[in-house]
């Protein structure tokens, strides 16, 4: 352990030189609103990753009591029946948590050591995640289990059942013959039920997964494509630039929304396709931003020096130039996330987004007024507010990030 007084916690806030991102973070998180936004988004991401453990009709664990000849068995229905997607997302959550632990534990190390530790950690964790993820995808087969454990527990068929906080899965309906559809909020269903007699709260939580999934997956695809194309055009310029920029213009002329509408009409609804289409059509903005940055950077001394030392191209591009030009792209990605969430919600609202019975905020909003007899406010309020707040949070966050990295706002509050 090194001297505690050197830790950032106790450092004087004044002039000590800081790494760039530390400086940005300090400026970024100064306003309370941004901290709230970040906290909200973090909670949303956590919910998206861990929702099967939060809202599920299956108990974490239960005991099947001893019957004639068989001993009592302890079962774990929830964990047994997790789907491949659930498992992979749990893995991602674990990887993120591990990354966080390494980051915080390496904070007190000296510069090069810290860098080394973090780099090794990142590589190891990413490797394990990818390996385990592909193993799950290849080997795990989803189980089908529509047993109503709540009623089993009530009738004593299973005992010692421990249920998640929200005791309903996103697709679980109340028995149809009871007619418990479109019910107002009650103790049984805290936010009421929808037109199929499903729990609104559970569907809201599961809807976060679709919203976050569409946002992050599509923007990661877009960022990857945008950065590669932007970096190449910006660095090389000339004929390369001319050709690739025409490609950018071509892609820009494709209306994402209508492309998805057409695609879904012909090939059916698959949320992964929608994510990919949003990603593949929205990278052009990032490419343009990065290209402009690279035009500026490519003649700076340090880039010339890097070239002069005979570094390979990818190293010059992505190691030396990219970190100095990527910030505007990241800001733009924040807005892109908000946009992707909106697109998914609109598609689902129009009834062309997710496949039923998957929960999505847009489709929930749609069902609030459909069939169009009465406006069922309890079905509209939750998804409406969540879409609104999520998009607002992404936008506010991105805007604050833009201000934080903008040198002209230095010194202003």
């Amino acid at each position: 352990m090194t001297d505690l007084t050197l830790s950032p916690m106790n450092q004087p806030v004044l002039p000590a030189p800081r790494p760039y991102w530390g400086w940005v973070a300090a400026r970024l998180f100064r306003p309370l609103l941004v901290r709230l936004c970040a906290a909200y988004l973090a909670v949303l991401v956590i919910i998206a990753l861990l929702v099967p453990l939060i809202a599920n009709g299956q108990p974490y664990t239960c005991v099947v009591p001893a019957v004639a000849g068989h001993a009592a068995i302890r079962e774990y229905p929830l964990f047994r029946d997790l789907s491949s997607v659930d498992l992979i997302l749990l893995l991602v959550a674990g990887a993120l948590a591990a990354q966080g632990v390494i980051m915080s534990r390496s904070r007190r190390l000296s510069g090069p050591q810290r860098l080394m530790r973090r780099r090794i950690g990142a590589v190891v964790i990413t490797g394990i995640t990818i390996l385990a993820g592909s193993l799950i995808a290849a080997l795990h087969s989803n189980r089908l289990d529509a047993t109503n454990y709540r009623s089993l527990a009530r009738h004593g068929v299973i005992t010692h059942a421990v249920f998640p906080p929200v005791r309903w899965g996103f697709a679980e309906m109340e028995p149809l013959s009871k007619g418990l559809i479109n019910q107002l909020p009650s103790r049984r269903h805290w936010l009421g039920t929808d037109g199929d007699g499903r729990d609104e709260l559970s569907r809201l939580l599961w809807g976060a997964r679709i919203a976050m999934g569409v946002g992050f997956v599509s923007q990661i695809i877009a960022l990857a494509m945008g950065i590669v194309v932007g970096a190449l055009t910006g660095y090389f310029g000339g004929i390369f630039d001319i050709i690739l920029m025409r490609l950018v213009e071509m892609v820009e002329s494709i209306p994402t929304f209508f492309l998805i509408l057409t695609f879904v009409a012909v090939y059916g609804r698959h949320i992964l396709d929608i994510m990919v289409i949003i990603g593949v059509t929205s990278w052009t903005g990032y490419a343009r931003l990065l290209r402009a940055e690279f035009f500026r950077i490519r003649n700076l001394d340090y880039v010339l020096a890097a070239q002069g030392t005979g570094m390979p191209l990818w190293r010059v591009l992505f190691k030396h130039m990219l970190p100095n030009g990527v910030t505007p792209v990241l800001v733009s990605a924040g807005f892109g996330l908000a946009g992707a969430v909106t697109i998914e919600a609109s598609l689902s609202y129009l009834g062309v987004g997710v496949q039923p019975p998957t929960a999505s905020w847009g489709s929930m909003l749609n069902s609030a007024g459909n069939p169009a007899t009465i406006f069922r406010w309890w079905q509209a309020l939750g998804p409406g507010m969540l879409i609104f707040i999520t998009v607002l949070a992404f936008n506010l966050f991105a805007e604050s990030l833009r201000d934080a990295i903008d040198p002209t706002t230095m010194g202003r509050r």
Binding site: D81, S141, N142, R143, L144, D145, A146, T147, A171, E172, M173, P175, L176, S177, G179, I181, G195, D196, G197, V264, A265, V266, G268, R269, G351, V352, Q355, P356, P357, S367, G369, N370, P371, A372, T373, I374
Partner: protein, 618 residues
Amino acid sequence: MDNRFTLKDFIFTVLLLLIIGAAVMAMAQFNYVNKQVIALSGQIKTLNQQQLDQTQILQQILRHGLKLQSGKVRGTTASQKDIRETLPDGTHYVCYPNPPMLPHNPYSRPDYARGDWLVENLGENPHTLTPFVSRDEGASVVQGWVQESLLSRDPITLKWEPWLARSYRISPNGLKITFKIRRRACFSNGHPVTAQDVLFSYNTMMNPGVDDAPQRVYFNDVKSCRAVGQRTVIFTFKHPYFKSLEVVGGLSILPESVYQFKKAGEFNKRGRLLVGSGPYLFDKWTSGEIVLVRNPRYWGPLPTFNRIIYRFIQNPQAALQAFLAGQLDTDPPEPSQWIKYTKQPGFAKSHHCYKFLTPAAGYMFVCWNLKKPEFKDRLTRTALCMLVDRNAIIKTFLHGLAQPMTGPFNPLSPQNNPKVKPISYDPAKARALLQRAGWKMGTDGILQRNGKPFKFQILLPSREPLIQNICVYMKQQFAKAGIDMSVQPLEFSVMIEKIDNRQFSSYFLGWSGGIENDPYQIWDSASYADKGSNAGDFDNAQADKLISQGRREMNTAKRMAIWHKFQAIVYRQQPYMFLFTSEALMFINQRFHNTAPVGKYGPLEANWFVPAKLQKYQ
């Protein structure tokens, strides 16, 4: 700078002045023409009114037993009686000297008055109004007011009665039908309805260039159509077919003088030409409405309303709001809307609310693709049906406004076999049946047979919340039994294409209904080929035999017995999961009188009227 006024400038100025002058003159000309048109239309209105009066006088004369013939007026001996008889040689002869009056018609009621408009909702704007070519439900509604056919069906007895025809005669073997056309019958342009027009209509229907393939198939059994003289038409058939009379008697008769064409393409393209012998004239079709006006020269009983207007409001909630605001005179509410509004005190008093079962409502079903191994056996299909609680679906999603179906025939139709009872909801029995069919529970909770898991996809039309709700419910029910069904909503046209190409495991749709349906289209094994309607490939030799027997049987009672047997087979085989037939619901504005449903068709607009005091429009 040289700023002289050159020749070029001069020419430009002159041209400019000329253009301005021309524009001013065109305006003046337009104004003049417009004035003339207004004056002319005023005159036409007066003329029409005169004609209306004349027609009324004429009809009064006719009603009092006088007959007008080629200028001479002569008294008739007593009013002639309607004849419906079977001659000793087996010929069926029906003759109505006067067109049949609708049952419960309002003409003799003391408060009966002509006038006012009827404003209804068509839902979607039709693509075209061309007869035979149009495929929208809405277009056929509009055509029904403008064009007529040789026969009409009595809504209560369901018998075919002569309409444009005065009489018809069916030969003993059912292979020849002779129609005699009424002398009075004439088109709205004044031309009489002749045998030539019937022949023209038939030839148009059979013209391969005319885009009417779905309707043409019904005429496949017609061998020939012959016009004899001015007023006699003879249809002959290749085989006896129980629907022969309905098919040729229901053919819309088009005036040849208006519709004649050289190339079939011309006919297809006349989307806005609609002329016939009916009680209303097609007036205009704008983006917001279709307007029909009364045919002042109508040969039959003079219609009640001055205008019939169809609007296009697709959203059911918007349509209901328009109805409540008085912009629409009728509205067929959704079940949930019906429940909500009929509950309100006073609503039922201030509006006519009708709820009735009609064979025309059709039914909803899930079609299994019998070519797929999982649906090959009857036990599995029966088990699937037992897993779905149709009564709960009707109670919860349809608010009780529907009836479960037992087979392809409507419970109200005489075709329906009343001995066949709906399969009841019984998950335990369904599990036993699945086990008997060879399905075993796999380790992943999904049933398996021969190593293949029971997984399939159901196609359904998107933007149909009710169907989606039911499919989500079925998914859960099937999952409880270990069957993994995924729900795939598709755009309607894409879905139809998939069904036509047989790229499906199962799909959810509805069939429209009729009084007596010919099961051939959906259930005969021959209808699988060529994208026929037997998409699930129901192939049952016994059923095929019964279908062909029934189609050839002209005796109604015997035919019904055959249909009953056929239904029992379909019930046993369960090629579809037959779900339910919805009750028809109708809200009608209070100012209309005599709106009660008549027979099995529900309220008949032709019977409605508005007493003079209550009339809203001129």
